[in-house]
């Protein structure tokens, strides 16, 4: 009985750990040459899906911490970026540089 309880507890522990470690996908939209968030704090391993909800082509890139570049992102297109490294980074559109936000990865 004790053995069964311990097994159950261990299993529960694994489930709780898995939930705690589950990466979250955040969504940031691009509209009116602006990101929907000015600053977003996420956990290492989380991802952000950048959705171009504008009627013009955009781009999303970052040169520090978690480097990425979506290239041309046409209206309606989206890109999911995983942020593995911890740190603070600026994310912006290379076509419309005033369109920028900060991502903090904890």
């Amino acid at each position: 009985m004790l053995r069964i309880s311990l097994s159950l507890l261990a299993a529960l522990g694994l489930v709780v750990s898995a939930i705690a470690l589950a990466a979250t996908d955040h969504t940031v939209t691009e509209k009116g040459k602006k990101f929907s968030e000015k600053k977003l704090t996420i956990q290492a391993g989380d991802s952000i899906t950048f959705v171009n909800d504008d009627n013009i082509t955009h781009n999303v890139y970052s040169k520090k911490v978690n480097q990425f570049d979506t290239g041309a992102q046409k209206p309606g297109a989206s890109d999911r970026i995983v942020f593995k490294n911890k740190g603070k980074q600026k994310v912006r559109c290379a076509i419309h540089p005033k369109m920028k936000m900060t991502v903090v990865v904890e």
Binding site: N59, K63, A72, A94, H96, P97, K98
Partner: protein, 343 residues
């Protein structure tokens, strides 16, 4: 007598027509639209400085000396101010810049006015910050051709600079990073003054002529200049192919996979614009009237052409109003003193 009467009647009729036309044009300026548009052009109260390079007087003063010092070039003959000359509205007045060995460069020298507010630097946006940009031309073989591996040693050999860097950067002294920070800090202090347009935006109806007000209305409507030249500094800091006959790849050198970035260049400020002819990234247009004619025609049709570039159908009078408006963006500036160089 009859002839005189006819002439008098004709004269009166003509004057009435002119007067009516004036009233009509004036009444076409929708006051509420003008007031609404004006709110987008209010000058900011403070100059922004980045958290990692805040303003100090000592840093700005040092940056000014560095900016004007030709010893920051390989030849010891070219300073930042050689091309970004305050006497030419921080440009050089040439169609294309001239660099090391008097060689002509590929693009026109951009002004450094109001760079404190800039996002991405250079015509093609290849530098993220003003600090990065300050070092770029210095290191470029075709521009100042300075060997960056020796610049710290060269400045350290000048006692005057050692003292100034120790005051401005007491914990760091002379490094590549502090050279860049000082120059960038000085550049951020180069801000255009109050122009007649600003006084009009602030409520002085007499500050600019009626033609300029009509030009401002066109700027924000039919001519759609505001699509790119937006905000108080008249730039969206973005990149556009405006259809000039030039094979320069522009921003596409940085973003080769984005069609619209081919032949796309950064939107320049229009502040003090009538002091900086010739115009465009290649210096191909000699005056503001030619610039307006180019936009009115719509530019070369090609896949990369900005979606905002379309034939405008402006009349000659409307073209002149736009020029009259741009002329109100010039602020009276005091001459810039050249600093004594540290020895």
């Amino acid at each position: 007598m009859k002839l005189i009467d006819v002439r008098a009647v004709a004269f009166c009729a003509a004057m009435l027509a002119v007067f009516s036309a004036g009233i009509s044009s004036a009444s076409q300026l929708d006051k509420s639209s003008l007031e609404q548009w004006k709110t987008d052009y209010v000058r900011p109260g403070l100059v922004p400085f980045p958290e990692d390079n805040p303003y100090t007087v000592e840093k700005a003063d040092l940056g000014k000396k560095l900016f004007f010092d030709p010893r920051l070039s390989g030849s010891n003959a070219i300073s930042c101010a050689s091309c970004h000359n305050p006497a030419f509205s921080w440009g050089d007045g040439l169609a294309k810049g001239v660099g090391h060995g008097s060689r002509q460069l590929g693009r026109r020298t951009p002004t450094i006015w109001n760079l404190a507010w800039a996002e991405l630097l250079m015509w093609d946006g290849r530098f993220e910050t003003l600090e990065e940009q300050a070092l770029g031309p210095m290191a470029a073989d075709v521009e100042m051709a300075q060997d960056m591996s020796t610049i710290v040693g060269e400045l350290s050999a000048i006692p005057g600079y050692r003292a100034l860097f120790n005051i401005a950067f007491p914990d760091e002294g002379i490094t590549i990073d502090t050279i860049a920070k000082a120059i960038a800090t000085y550049e951020r202090t180069v801000v255009t003054g109050i122009a007649p347009f600003d006084r009009w935006v602030a409520g002085d109806e007499t500050a600019i002529p009626e033609e300029a007000k009509r030009g401002f209305a066109l700027f924000n409507s039919k001519a759609n200049c505001v699509a790119c030249h937006s905000g108080w500094n008249f730039t969206d800091d973005s990149f556009h192919d405006i259809g000039l006959n030039d094979d320069d790849p522009g921003r596409a050198a940085e973003l080769p996979g984005v069609e619209k970035m081919r032949h796309a260049f950064k939107t320049p400020t229009l502040r003090n614009i009538d002091l900086r002819a010739p115009f465009m990234h290649d210096g191909s247009l000699t005056d503001l009237a030619a610039v307006v004619r180019h936009y009115n025609a719509g530019g070369i049709q090609r896949p990369s052409l900005s979606d905002d570039m379309k034939p405008l159908g402006l009349t000659p009078a409307e073209e002149s109003y736009l020029v009259a408006f741009m002329e109100t963006l010039t602020s009276p500036e005091e001459p810039v003193s050249i600093p004594l160089m540290p020895r």
